[in-house]
Symmetry: C2
Subunit: 622 residues, 2 copies
């Protein structure tokens, strides 16, 4: 293709000034990146991105993630040029109820592929999308696209980005193209004060093709992307830019997060090709050029695309499951029964991709069809390596991509390592399933670092997240059916390492609706428990003729109409949060100990006899 120098400058400058105008009007935002990355965005969207703005959800589109989410104004300015949002939307940047919030929000604004802002995770989600693409592409060759991610210095300093890039390099995700806006400046200092690494040497060592673009020009960037598309390994393009180029604050951290004044924008326009006094204007020449290059070209691509029926079935499969006929062992650990069911489902549905951060031997979560690898793109068992955080964010990218159900696993105590990814899943309401085994101190001899205490409380405190802790094989079925059939947001299933005792009165369907009675007693008191502790309270309930509720999903607990002042909860974990549902809370509000399960139960007085005594004492006192 030919480059028209003037029109490219006009496009880039139009984009810049629109973005700056939005930031200045909002009195808040990040002008630094809006100026320095405009050329990158224009080159990518105008000459490369397979993206039909008339069909922004076209499944075969290229994906673009703005990992540097604080560059949102620039992306919104581009979306406005694509006609996905309006001038008025752009003018309402960062204001109440607009579709142009401070950082990109998935589901709110057309054209936004992922919520970004918490740094590093955009890169990892892009890796997930590239992995998902390789899976669909291998099955259905008519499905084929690139995944681009724009990131900055801060993004790359994040551990989650390093984990994800290491994973991408190892797995040779060649359709992943990282665009590194390398401007040498970050919020608190120059980059060299906090990072002296050689990106070239580092990312080559990590399995990337490295391309340096030492001039922030359409021509050079274009050439690099063209080259990147034919790589057989993932590509890392470092583009040297100047933060806030052309302003008085260029190449300084003052330009990072401080809006320009209208005068400063005017001064900048003196050296740009965009001269209009209305900084929100979309120039006709630019519009026409975009129509020709983007709308027309991609509209044709869209119309020509002819997906097979099999692909459409794959993409439209609702994955409603029914576990009535699956036989599970009683009294088995819930990690085992959960693993068994999911393995079974994996064999039935190509849409299920499962894996672990190097703990599948312990969590029992393992995808089918072999290990995913460059020579086995159909492998649905993902070896994430000991990279919990990237695992969560990559899974989110897989969930965002198309119609996959990503399932990831580690120990409950290590859910801490990926909590920021769980939060982004919750904000985006993604269908990611997090399985956390070794869900209590009973996990034993590995000791306090491996024993969850406060994790269930932390997860339950998060909005838009459903936390399930099945007590036995019936509730395991309920938890898994809930995720596939009913969930509209991410789900956590906590499973036991140790064998449990099945109560025989648990109920799959009731469990799916939330908390429910497993025993009705005549005593006015109520016992509430979850997971492996349910059976102990069930036994005590029967003996003392007290009603027992299985309450792993606390959402509807209040609707069960028991007397909270005469209720006792029991979970072998922090009591934090339980007071809302029961006046008396039995649990563990300190860290665990390294000992056998038997000794742990004794140490914390959680055996049936001690617990019954405790329950009787509480009742007696009141």
């Amino acid at each position: 293709m030919k480059f028209k120098k003037n029109i490219d400058s006009l496009c880039v400058d139009n984009l810049k000034i629109n973005a700056l105008a939005a930031i200045t009007k909002a009195k808040s935002g990040h002008p630094g990146i809006a100026i320095d990355a405009a050329t990158i965005l224009h080159t990518l969207f105008c000459y490369h991105l397979k993206y039909d703005p008339k069909h922004p959800l076209w499944v075969n589109r290229d994906r673009f993630i703005l990992s540097s989410g604080h560059g949102s104004a620039l992306l919104y300015a581009m979306l406005r040029m694509l006609g996905l949002i309006s001038r008025s939307d752009l003018e309402k940047f960062r204001s109440y109820k607009s579709n142009t919030p401070g950082h990109p929000e998935y589901g709110l604004t057309p054209g936004i592929e992922a919520s970004t802002g918490p740094l590093g995770q955009g890169i990892a989600m892009a890796v997930g999308m590239a992995l998902a693409e390789s899976q669909v592409n291998k099955r259905f060759p008519e499905f084929s696209h690139y995944t681009y991610v724009l990131c900055g210095d801060g993004d790359l300093q994040e551990g989650v980005a390093q984990e994800a890039l290491s994973f991408a390099g190892t797995n040779k995700l060649n359709k992943l193209i990282v665009l590194y806006d390398s401007n040498d400046v970050q919020l608190d200092s120059f980059v060299k004060s906090v990072n002296l690494e050689s990106p070239k040497e580092k990312y080559k060592a990590m399995g990337f093709k490295y391309i340096l673009v030492n001039e922030n020009s359409v021509k050079k960037i274009n050439k690099a992307i063209n080259k990147a598309k034919y790589s057989n390994i993932p590509v890392f393009i470092e583009i040297k830019t100047i933060i806030g180029e052309g302003t008085k604050k260029e190449n300084s951290n003052l330009i990072h997060g401080q809006p320009l004044t209208n005068e400063e924008i005017s001064d900048l326009k003196d050296i740009l090709t965009f001269k209009k006094s209305d900084n929100f204007e979309y120039l006709d020449d630019v519009k026409n050029y975009y129509i020709k290059n983007i709308y027309a070209k991609n509209g044709v691509a869209y119309n020509l695309w002819n997906p097979s029926k099999k692909l459409m079935n794959f993409l439209n499969n609702e994955l409603k499951i029914n576990l009535n006929d699956i036989n599970l062992n009683k009294n088995d650990s819930t990690r085992n029964t959960t693993g068994f069911v999911l393995n079974n489902l994996g064999n039935q549905y190509e849409n299920i991709i499962a894996g672990s951060a190097d703990l599948s031997s312990s969590t029992k979560i393992k995808g089918v069809n072999g290990v995913y690898a460059p020579n086995n793109r159909l492998g649905r068992n993902i070896l994430y390596g000991v990279r919990e955080f990237a695992m969560g964010a990559i899974a989110n990218g897989i969930a965002l991509h198309s119609n996959f159900r990503p399932i990831v696993s580690t120990f409950l105590t290590f859910s801490n390592y990926l909590i920021p990814a769980i939060r982004l899943a919750a904000q985006m309401r993604l269908k990611t399933l997090f399985i956390f085994s070794h869900d209590s101190v009973y996990a034993g001899q590995d000791g306090p670092t491996h024993q969850p205490i406060e994790q269930l409380a932390s997860l339950r405190a998060m909005p838009n997240l459903t936390v399930l802790r099945p007590a036995d094989e019936n509730e395991v079925k309920g938890a898994i059916e809930y995720y596939f059939n009913k969930a509209t947001n991410p789900v956590v299933i906590a499973t036991t390492r140790q064998n449990i005792v099945s109560t025989n009165v648990t109920n799959k369907l009731k469990f799916e609706d939330g908390a429910y009675y497993i025993y009705h007693g005549k005593n006015p008191w109520t016992l509430i428990a979850t997971g492996s502790e349910l059976n102990t309270f069930y036994n005590i309930g029967k003996k003392l003729n007290i009603s027992v509720i299985s309450a792993s999903n606390t959402n509807n607990l209040e609707s069960l109409n028991y007397n909270i002042n005469k209720a006792i909860s029991f979970e072998a974990a922090s009591t934090f949060g339980w007071a809302k549902y029961a006046k008396y809370n039995i649990g563990i509000d300190e860290f665990g100990i390294s000992a056998t399960e038997k000794d742990i139960i004794k140490h914390f007085n959680l055996d049936e006899i001690s617990l019954q005594k405790k329950v009787e004492e509480i009742i007696k006192r009141n």
Copy 2:
């Protein structure tokens, strides 16, 4: 020095068999690393580590961190040889109330420098120790030691390790020596299935001197460590080992976490120099050799050490502070007042090291004496880069090292990124201070990814962690005095981005003791609030003649003897956990929105008039 081949083999084999015996007796543990890393541990402890077993807390000792915490049995076997623990301790590996728990626990076992187990963090804590050493060394040249860390493949895959090593390379921490037990095998697979990077190229690019030891021998390892000691940049020694070497399961993941049978140990002994039938035996020859090499040599070093008075003052300074005389602005944001006080203290005390993950411009937390850098080892402002998790773990390493008070900061919502480091600080009861600014949805236009909701609840659910959320300048003083003068565990201080309204009735000393009344009303109801919300409730309390409690530290709330059934809590965050202290909870149980503070208050109905109405309605209903 000369190497006696036979005695070295005997030492290594003695170590191996003792460690394996402990694992087999416990029926739980990790024999793979115990076998393959024995040579490394023997070489390090016998020929290099400056460590007097008679004075294990000698402040000028070399530090050794076992980042691969699952190798605990091997370390315990070494500690037993050093006389720090007994044979009987080793025999009680992983059993109830022993000092040899499943993973090393700081404070429980002499010779354990840090709790490890959650992978990657040991590396980051070692980086913190090396940083701390460089600070003390620059002031007091008589203080000088190396920091060694032993890590495995899993450790290095963790993002926190990558962040920390990137930081160490950039800061040229040349007395940090990383010993990488490179055995090609991890729990779920061979390493090559999850990581194809070239460590040599990668760590060189990251600023390390790379040394390959391609034979797991005392001689080769010794040579490498000798070389490492004279490097002017940090050193990464890759030691090729064979997991479970000499057993039938060698070079396979079966050996990673499965105890050997006694027969398998017997078989292994056939090819080792340790032949005793008692696998817990400490051979006389080995003991004598250790006495000569370790006890004698290091005892001399200890005795010869002659610290200056100034150094001793530095090390023994109790840092008890008094903020009575410091004048703070009223109505200023608590991030500003906190930053002002800490800056002031930083100028007074050399023991204070502060920094941020590239957000000091926003959190207002910045150390004094310039930016820490290779040419400014006295700089106490640490630029951690956008590496939140490593920041937390490095700070823990600094806290573990000697008498520093490490202070780190980021936004409250990003506390998620370092929660595993906060947990380790809490488990070890370290004196790390975490300052989290932008502590509520009021932070505004950056939107939901930047607005904390559930974070306060998550932090409060954690054992051994004190969470303080000062309402104004008096409580800021109280929070900081609490940390310095009273805290025996890590502290979180949450600060506001926005200006607050000082109530003038808050009280520094009362705040330090926990929740306290700021207003006594005649109405039987009680209002409870924290941080920036306190003033609103105070105004309402005065108007309605209702008592008001400032309750940022909830620990002693119950002792205030109010009627929980007639209490209303208010925090502009998740209500999760508040039901324990008040029957009625006002808060935000959904994610935030991108808008101005004014619009956010309106959206969530958190203005004084709406809140007063809500309070009146609740009281009326009951």
